[in-house]
């Protein structure tokens, strides 16, 4: 159906794609994988007409096409669901779904038709929790994702591009997405699926195309490749074991919570020990990030005990030797236009303390030494950006370090590096708490896993627990 040949693209003289071929057939789920910087997102934006290609041809049903604008691609039946939400929070569901192509009758927007069509699509997806007139900002994240999907479907898309669609979804919401994709496939719609999560690729895809450094490595039916082989194709080397080995030495209690709570959390009992990595699992909305923020002092506990003390602000948290590597690096972790140096020194400068002289050593320690210190961090890769955030906290020599989704959106190779660093820090005696939606990562890294449900501790599992056991606790089925 869609066939791209010899696609090439450069930005500001930097070659991002060269000679990429990609063919998609109707009713197929075609996964595109590759490390960050491999050119996946750029390729997808070319498919959708956001960027015109510098070289190569695109054919749709055998006819050559050239999209100068997203609108033209959409008129040809190509829709995209971006990794970041592309909705207007102040507008209604129907207004968002029909954004840019509102139906018109006698020169005026036909609101009735718009709302009717939206309601019909929502009905087809079995969605009745909200309606076309609801304002998007009042919907929970998962429902906003459904609005995105409805937006794509409303154009009668024949090809739907999904760019990391599960990034903001909790485990059970991913299941709904799987079903939805199944339904699309039945209708003969082709799906181009980009994901860092190999499990999803193997669950969903019929074929997979591997990109590396802007070129296509290969395209294979999913049955002819194993996860290990796929990783090797992506990074060009064998990563071997996923996770660094655990060391069983847990030291003294660094942080103790007893019956701690606030508006989102209740009766939390938790000990974090030196040298230990504690994993926090739970569904979206179970209070995982809220727990990290409460311990850190950003959204403080209002009841219960925390030893050595209960911080009432970020600064008090910092003073207690607590650091938080936030979930959203770009929005909450970094000042993107400032230099590496200014970012790593931010905490130290803010509180007027910290080890400023040792920054060079710290950068070396996280293997960021080759990066120029006056480089603006927005030019760094996701993995290196995460290391900058980490060094920012290491300047304070924290006693407790909280990681909220530390490897979200960074590529396979950099993930392993972050994992190694976390274990190194624990071995050096830091107490580490880690939140992750990726269960294999969480279980592989943690010395024990604390499962949250509805703002409470649902249970604690030892190292090496099964994914199933974690999910059962998280979901609240009879254990």
């Amino acid at each position: 159906m869609l066939s791209m040949r010899g696609i090439g693209k450069s930005f500001l003289g930097v070659r991002v794609l060269s000679g990429v071929d990609l063919a998609v057939t109707a009713g197929e789920v075609h996964a595109v994988v590759g490390e960050n910087g491999a050119g996946k997102s750029t390729l997808m934006k070319i498919v959708c007409g956001v960027h015109p290609p510098d070289e190569g041809t695109i054919e749709l049903d055998g006819r050559p096409v050239r999209f100068g604008h997203p609108l033209e691609a959409r008129r040809s039946g190509i829709a995209i669901i971006y990794q970041e939400f592309n909705l207007l929070p102040e507008r209604t569901v129907a207004e968002n779904v029909f954004l840019g192509r509102e139906p018109v009758r006698r020169g005026l927007v036909d609101r009735a038709a718009m709302e009717e069509a939206t309601a019909r699509l929502l009905g087809e997806l079995g969605e009745d929790a909200f309606g076309p007139r609801d304002v998007v900002k009042r919907l929970p994240v998962a429902q906003q994702q459904i609005v995105e999907i409805v937006k794509a479907l409303s154009v009668d898309a024949r090809l739907v591009v999904m760019d990391e669609p599960t990034a903001a979804l909790a485990e059970h919401e991913v299941e709904s997405l799987y079903r939805l994709i199944g339904r699309l496939r039945e209708r003969g719609v082709a799906v181009l699926y980009i994901s860092h999560r190999l499990r999803e690729v193997f669950d969903l895809a019929d074929r997979v195309t591997v990109l590396k450094d802007g070129s296509r490595v290969t395209t294979l039916p999913i049955g002819e490749v194993t996860p290990a082989e796929l990783i090797r194709l992506m990074v060009g080397r064998d990563l071997g074991a996923y996770f660094p080995p655990r060391s069983a030495r847990a030291g003294e209690v660094r942080l103790r919570l007893r019956a701690a709570g606030n508006r989102k959390l209740r009766d939390i009992d938790l000990d974090l020990r030196a040298g230990e990595i504690v994993g926090i699992a739970g569904l979206q909305g179970s209070g995982r990030s809220e727990l990290a923020r409460a311990i850190f002092g950003a959204e403080p506990f209002t009841t219960g005990e925390m030893t050595p003390a209960r911080p009432r602000s970020v600064r008090e948290g910092v003073a207690l030797g607590i650091g938080l590597v936030t979930e959203d690096r770009k929005a909450e972790g970094l000042a993107l236009r400032q230099s590496v140096r200014d970012n790593v020194l931010l905490v130290a400068r803010a509180v007027g303390a910290g080890n400023r002289a040792g920054v060079r050593d710290l950068l070396e320690r996280v293997r960021l030494a080759p990066v120029r210190r006056d480089q603006e961090v927005r030019y760094l890769s996701g993995g290196n950006q995460q290391k900058v955030v980490l060094v920012k906290w290491l300047t304070m020599a924290p006693r407790v370090l909280l990681f909220d989704e530390p490897t979200r959106g960074i590529d396979v190779g950099a993930k392993a590096a972050v994992h190694d660093l976390m274990r190194e820090l624990a071995d050096d005696g830091m107490a580490i708490m880690m939140i992750s939606s990726e269960l294999p990562e969480l279980i592989g890294m943690s010395d024990r896993v604390v499962v949250l449900r509805d703002g409470r501790v649902a249970g604690t599992l030892p190292a090496g627990a099964s994914e199933e056991a974690v999910m059962r606790l998280a979901a609240g089925e009879a254990a």
Binding site: L71, L99, L108, A129, D134, S176
Partner: protein
């Protein structure tokens, strides 16, 4: 897995939610102010809301109201226009000079004013979108350009507006001044534009999130340019109105009225977010009326005119603080 946490239902936009919108708050405040004015003026021994004062309020509101409606469009689109004050002066001069006291010239004069103001809007819009100059600087620069031309060519009032055109400034139909009708007409058109046309939807989209709009196939630059053209045309209409009222064109009529910053203040007072994408014409109308009623009360109480500036400043800041507080309350 679906039986797991089905996310909590959305807060539906019921009556309670609607009452929390800035526009409702504003109109409640307006009612309160009218009541307070009534009491205050009565205590002072006068009578508030006489035919005279109502007409006065409408008269005073009309010019600012028309400019503010235009300003609403550009602010909703995520831009702003600091050139309206000088454009108003320019429009009044263009009108009065071309009319030169002759009835027959009214048509060409109006056409010329609309063309000139549309051109200014086009320049504003193109400088912002094509040259990527921040709207603040772009429209300030255009304002300076117009100012220089005005100062160079004129020392004082010029041109003459024929009697028949002055009708626009002073006559009224029953208790309603023609100028107020003009304002109402402009406001209704803008409301229709925003709530019922594609351009209106796109103005909200571009102001709400330019990237989202672009990725949805909206030609964002064109929307911003059109919004600026419409805003400038509104300023041109206000210039016509002021020329009709003065009987001539004046190089300082726009700046004396402080229409640039006042119109922005009225829009924001009406609950439209300065960042764009949120708000509407109804709020702006309320904001302008509120400022006019305030003015009227002070006039009747014969308060020093400088106090008005002070109170006006306080009212604007307090109103926006109240909106900010409400938004935060809803989020938390």
């Amino acid at each position: 897995m679906d039986l797991l946490t089905r996310a909590r239902g959305p807060a539906r936009g019921g009556l309670a939610a609607h009452l929390r919108e800035p526009t409702q708050v504003l109109f409640l405040a307006l009612l309160g102010l009218v009541a307070a004015g009534w009491v205050l003026v009565a205590l002072d021994g006068g009578q508030f809301l006489t035919l005279e004062s109502v007409v006065g309020i409408q008269q005073r509101s009309a010019a600012l109201g028309i400019v503010a409606v235009g300003q609403t469009l550009v602010i909703l689109a995520g831009s702003l226009d600091l050139s309206v004050a000088y454009l108003i002066s320019l429009a009044s001069l263009v009108a009065a000079e071309i009319m030169a006291g002759q009835d027959g010239n009214i048509g060409p004069a109006v056409a010329a004013v609309l063309a000139v103001s549309a051109l200014v809007g086009l320049v504003n819009g193109l400088v912002i979108t094509r040259l990527q100059v921040h709207a603040f600087i772009a429209t300030l620069g255009v304002a300076l350009i117009i100012r220089g031309a005005l100062d160079h060519l004129y020392d004082g009032p010029a041109g003459r507006v024929p009697e028949s055109f002055q009708v626009l400034g002073y006559s009224r139909i029953g208790p309603v001044p023609v100028s107020a009708l003009l304002w109402a007409g402009v406001a209704v058109l803008a409301w229709l534009l925003l709530s019922r046309t594609r351009l209106g939807y796109r103005i909200y989209a571009v102001g709400g999130d330019e990237e989202v709009a672009r990725l949805s196939g909206i030609r964002t630059g064109r929307v911003v340019v059109l919004a600026h053209v419409l805003c400038s045309v509104c300023a041109g209409v206000a210039g016509l109105l002021l020329a009709a009222r003065l009987g001539a064109g004046a190089p300082t009529v726009g700046t004396d009225g402080g229409y640039d910053l006042e119109s922005i203040a009225a829009v924001v007072l009406g609950g439209t977010a300065l960042a764009g994408g949120k708000g509407g014409v109804a709020g702006t109308v309320g904001g302008v009326l509120l400022l006019a009623v305030l003015d009227s009360i002070f006039n009747q109480l014969e308060v020093n005119s400088f106090v008005k500036d002070v109170v006006r400043g306080v009212v604007i800041v307090v109103a926006v603080a109240v909106y900010a507080r409400r938004t935060r309350g809803r989020r938390a």
